[in-house]
Each structure stands twice: as structure tokens, then as C-alpha cells.
């Protein structure tokens, strides 16, 4: 099993969620994050004091998937989160050694 983590542009969240649901993903977890990268932040000025806000708001999505589904999920995220402009974000894939569903105690594949 793998955990697919994607850092995307916030306003893309709904599209991505739909995209992965469509290919059978049952659940995912979302975190508001701030990103630093090629995409530039902005400058704020308060009474003459300038603050360069290097970080841009991003949304992080985590989806646990079976190895079988991995590629299609990556595919779905990449196309739905894509705008072609700098700052579209990244997808990171990790190996999951175990998954447990708290409610039932089910483990691994059946717990996803």
C-alpha cells in the first residue's frame, strides 16, 4: 500500500477530490499548508514596514491507496490539479507498512 501526498493550489481541491472519487477512492485527508518554491509570494506594507511573504497558501491531500490503484490515482491528481502555471505543486508517494481502520480494527487493504 502507498500513501499519495499531493501539494496543490487551494482552489483545485474540489476538482481533485471529485477526480479521485470518480476512480473509486473512498477517502482522503486534507491539510492547509504554506508552500515555498518557484512560485513567488507577495509583499505587504504596514505603515512603511515591508513584509515579504515568501510562503503561498497551498492545500495538502493525503490518500492511502493499494498498489494497484497507485498509478491511476497519481494520474487523476496530476490532471485535475494541473493549471500549467508555476506553483501547481507536487505529488509525493510513500510506502505504507500498515493501515488500520479504527472503527473496525480491519487492517491493510481492507482498511483503506
Amino acid at each position: 500500500m502507498k500513501l499519495v501526498t499531493a501539494i496543490i493550489k487551494p482552489f483545485k481541491l474540489d476538482e481533485v477530490r471529485k477526480a479521485v472519487s470518480d476512480i473509486g477512492v473512498q477517502g482522503l485527508t486534507v491539510t492547509e499548508v504554506r508552500g515555498f518554491g518557484r512560485q513567488r509570494g507577495h509583499t505587504e506594507i504596514y505603515r512603511g514596514a515591508e513584509y515579504v511573504v515568501e510562503f503561498v497558501p497551498k492545500t495538502k491531500i493525503e490518500v492511502a491507496v493499494t498498489d494497484a490503484m497507485l498509478e491511476s490515482v497519481i494520474e487523476a491528481i496530476q490532471t485535475s490539479a494541473h493549471t500549467g502555471k508555476v506553483g501547481d505543486g507536487k505529488i509525493f508517494v510513500f510506502a505504507l507498512t500498515q493501515v488500520v481502520r479504527i472503527r473496525t480494527g480491519e487492517r491493510d487493504a481492507s482498511a483503506i
Binding site: 505587504e44 506594507i45 504596514y46 505603515r47 512603511g48 513584509y51 511573504v53
Partner: protein
């Protein structure tokens, strides 16, 4: 000041037994209840409520929105705490020192604990005391109205030492300051026996007594306390300008009580003062906004709000003396001048006047006090202004206020310490001083 109701009083005195004219009083006096004007009293009761609203929640929010989230409650606490402490001090002795006849520098103790300030029920004759400075309203109302001025003035200083002063030390400082600095200056400028008043210094609603006074005390305190931890290195953006805008708006609304209330009557002079206040505020807000827009490329909420306050400050001494068009000029210059004061001056000299108590209130107050000398209209006020005389008032306040404030702070620092520890400052005053935080 001779009141609108004079005509009516004359009419009545023509009928009733002749009675001394309220406006001949030179000290608080017991008068018959029917000497009062219900209209004037109604407006002064209202003005008092408006000026209290300027401090809490007005000023509290104006400042609270500008600090970092970890210090917002501590900042609100400064205004609120100041309100409570000065209330007690004013009753104790402040009012008496400021507004009873005395020597050239300070009043008497005749009204300590508001002693002698009375209201006698109609059943027992229907008499009450009035102040010689406002003969058509109860003295209780005048004392309350002036109390709200005494409350907001020290609260303004807090803008300069935000985020780093101990709450305990602040209470001690503001208390001492209220008695040793505010009361005497108020006496000198506003009470007929005060020498600046005698010298003809014009200060309709407190440009000198309130704003210059608070501004220089602020400058003194940020010099004594030093900069905030990480100042210049770490970002310290205002955490919530929504609060600041609410605060600025309530200051604006409340300021009508401050300036038009200073007529101590509901008359044409009060109307002129209110109109001048509005014109100057609108002009100043636009002045600051456009100055910033041109120099930095964007008009900001903090900018337009600060400009409005700068205009309110500058028109304070002039309102009641100047015509609406003169008010526009005063406001516009205040907006532009204070913009540069707040954005450049402190970076130039490198002191950390955190929320620009000096940059806005000090500079704006001085500008307004001087321009009052230039624009005062004899038609409206019955007197001519003099730049020189005004300068005398400004100088006195700047020197006295700065020196005494500085000394007070140094002494208190020795005694109890003014500044929080580095850990406390880092963690934020809300949690470290008050054990609270906002979500």
C-alpha cells in the same frame, strides 16, 4: 463661554428675581436647578458616553488589531485597565487638580473625592453645583465628561510601548502620569487660573492637553523601553485590521462627543465643531491614502484608518475655532504629514514607536495646535489665534510632558522593572501576563 440659552436666561431673569449670570462664575458654585439647560445637559450626557466609547472599545480595538495575535488581549487590557484606574484617580484628586481654581500650574484640592459636588433634590430646594467652565449643565456631568478625556489620554500612550511592557509597571506609570502630567497640563491650558489659558493658548478639545501630551510621553516610553524583540528582523504585521478599522470608526464617531462636546452646550458652536471635525477627518484620511497610494503603489486599510485618526487629532484643538473649509486644509496637511511621520520618521531615527502614538498623536497634535493659531476665526470663536502663543503652549507641553514622563519611566524601571522577560515577550503577553489566549 456665553451660552445660547443666554437669551432665555435673560428672558427669565427679566421675570424672576434678578440672578447672577452663570457665565460670571469663576469657580464651581451652587445654583438653582432651573438655571440648567436640559438640552445642553442631554448633549453632554451623550458626549460623555461617546468619549468613553472612544477608549473602550474604540482605542482598544484600534491598537488591538495592529499587534501580533499573541498580544491582542494584553493590548485590550491596557486600554480597559487604564479606564478603570483613571476613573478612581479622577475621583480621588485628578478632577480637583485640573478644574478647580488654583495657582498658575495646578488647581486646588477642593473637589478631592468629588467633595462639595452636590445635587439637592427638588423636595429640598432643587439646587446643584455647576462648574464655572460649563454653567448650564450639572457639575457631575462636567466632571464625568472631563473624566473620559483623562481616561483616553494615558491609554493613547500605550501605542508606543505595545508588546513589551509589564502590565503592573504600566498601571503604576499611567497612574503617576495621570496625576503629575495630565492634571497640571489640563489646568494650565483649560482652567482660567492656568497660565497658558491666561496667555491665550487656544485648545478647543485637547490637541495640546491630550494628543501632544500623550504623543511625547509615548516617545519617551519607547526610548526608555527599547525596541521589541526581533524588531526589524522578524515580521510583525498587524494580526487583524478588521479590529483596527472598527476601532478607527468608533474613534471617529466618538470624537463628535470629544470635539462638539467641548462646546459644553448643544448650540451652533457645537455644530460648527462637529462639522469641522468631519471635514478634517475625511480630508486627512484621503490625504494619507493618496500619499501612500502614490509612494507605495497601494492604498491600505491601515493607511486610511490612520489618516482618519491623524485628522481627528489635528482638528481637535481647532474645532470650534475654525470654519469647515479651514478644517479641510488642516485635515489634508495632517494626513500627509503624519503619513511621513509614521512611515519614515521612526525608521529614520530608529526608535520603535510600535503603533505610532508619537507619529500620529504627537506630530498631528503639534500640527493642529499650530494651525489653530493660523486659522482661528474671530467670527466663530470671538477670539483671534496667534501662531506664537500656540507655539508657547506646544513647547511647554512637549518639554514638560517629555521630561517628566521620561523621569517617571526611569524611576519605575529601577523600582519594579518596566519590561517583560524575553521568554514572556516571545511567548506573547496574552499567555505570559494574563494567562489567556484567543483561538
Amino acid at each position: 463661554m456665553i451660552k445660547r440659552s443666554k437669551g432665555l436666561l435673560l428672558l427669565m431673569s427679566a421675570l424672576c428675581a434678578p440672578l447672577a449670570h452663570a457665565d460670571q462664575l469663576t469657580a464651581p458654585a451652587l445654583v438653582s436647578a432651573d438655571k440648567l439647560s436640559a438640552g445642553d445637559t442631554a448633549w453632554m450626557l451623550t458626549s460623555t458616553a461617546l468619549v468613553l466609547m472612544m477608549c473602550v472599545p474604540g482605542l482598544a480595538l484600534f491598537y488591538g488589531g495592529m499587534v501580533r495575535k499573541k498580544n491582542v488581549l494584553a493590548t485590550l487590557m491596557q486600554s480597559f485597565g487604564c479606564t478603570c484606574v483613571v476613573t478612581i484617580l479622577w475621583w480621588l484628586i485628578g478632577y480637583s487638580w485640573a478644574f478647580t481654581p488654583g495657582n498658575r500650574f495646578i488647581g486646588s484640592s477642593a473637589r478631592a473625592l468629588f467633595g462639595g459636588m452636590t445635587y439637592i433634590h427638588d423636595d429640598a430646594g432643587g439646587k446643584l453645583t455647576v462648574s464655572h467652565l460649563a454653567p448650564t449643565i450639572p457639575e457631575s456631568v462636567y466632571a464625568m465628561f472631563q473624566m473620559t478625556f483623562a481616561i483616553i489620554t494615558p491609554a493613547l500612550i500605550a501605542g508606543a510601548f505595545a508588546d513589551r511592557m509589564k502590565f503592573s509597571a504600566m498601571l503604576i506609570f499611567l497612574s503617576a502620569w495621570s496625576l503629575i502630567v495630565y492634571a497640571p497640563i489640563a489646568h494650565m491650558v483649560w482652567e482660567p487660573t492656568g497660565w497658558l489659558n491666561a496667555a491665550g493658548v487656544l485648545d478647543y478639545a485637547g490637541g495640546t492637553v491630550v494628543h501632544i501630551n500623550a504623543g511625547v510621553a509615548g516617545l519617551a516610553s519607547c526610548l526608555v523601553l527599547g525596541k521589541r524583540l526581533g524588531y526589524g528582523r522578524e515580521a510583525m504585521p498587524p494580526h487583524n485590521l478588521t479590529l483596527t478599522l472598527i476601532g478607527a470608526s468608533l474613534l471617529w464617531v466618538g470624537w463628535f462627543g470629544f470635539n462638539a462636546g467641548s462646546a459644553t452646550a448643544a448650540d451652533g458652536r457645537a455644530g460648527m465643531a462637529m462639522l469641522a471635525t468631519q471635514m478634517a477627518t475625511g480630508a486627512a484620511a484621503l490625504g494619507w491614502m493618496f500619499a501612500e497610494w502614490f509612494s507605495k503603489g497601494k492604498p491600505s486599510v491601515l493607511g486610511i484608518a490612520s489618516g482618519a485618526v491623524a485628522g481627528l487629532v489635528a482638528i481637535t484643538p481647532a474645532s470650534g475655532y475654525v470654519a469647515p473649509s479651514a478644517a479641510v486644509v488642516i485635515g489634508l496637511s495632517a494626513g500627509v504629514v503624519c503619513y511621513f511621520a509614521a512611515t519614515s520618521l521612526k525608521h529614520l531615527f530608529g526608535y520603535d514607536d510600535s503603533l505610532d502614538a508619537f507619529g500620529v498623536h504627537g506630530i498631528g497634535g503639534i500640527l493642529g495646535a499650530l494651525l489653530t493659531g493660523v486659522f482661528a476665526s474671530k467670527e466663530i470663536s470671538g477670539v483671534d489665534g496667534s501662531l506664537l502663543t500656540q507655539a508657547k503652549g506646544v513647547l511647554t507641553t512637549v518639554v514638560y510632558g517629555f521630561v517628566v514622563s521620561y523621569a517617571l519611566l526611569v524611576v519605575i524601571d529601577k523600582l519594579v522593572g518596566l519590561r517583560v522577560t524575553e521568554e514572556q515577550e516571545r511567548e506573547g503577553l496574552d499567555i505570559s501576563l494574563h494567562g489567556e489566549s484567543i483561538e
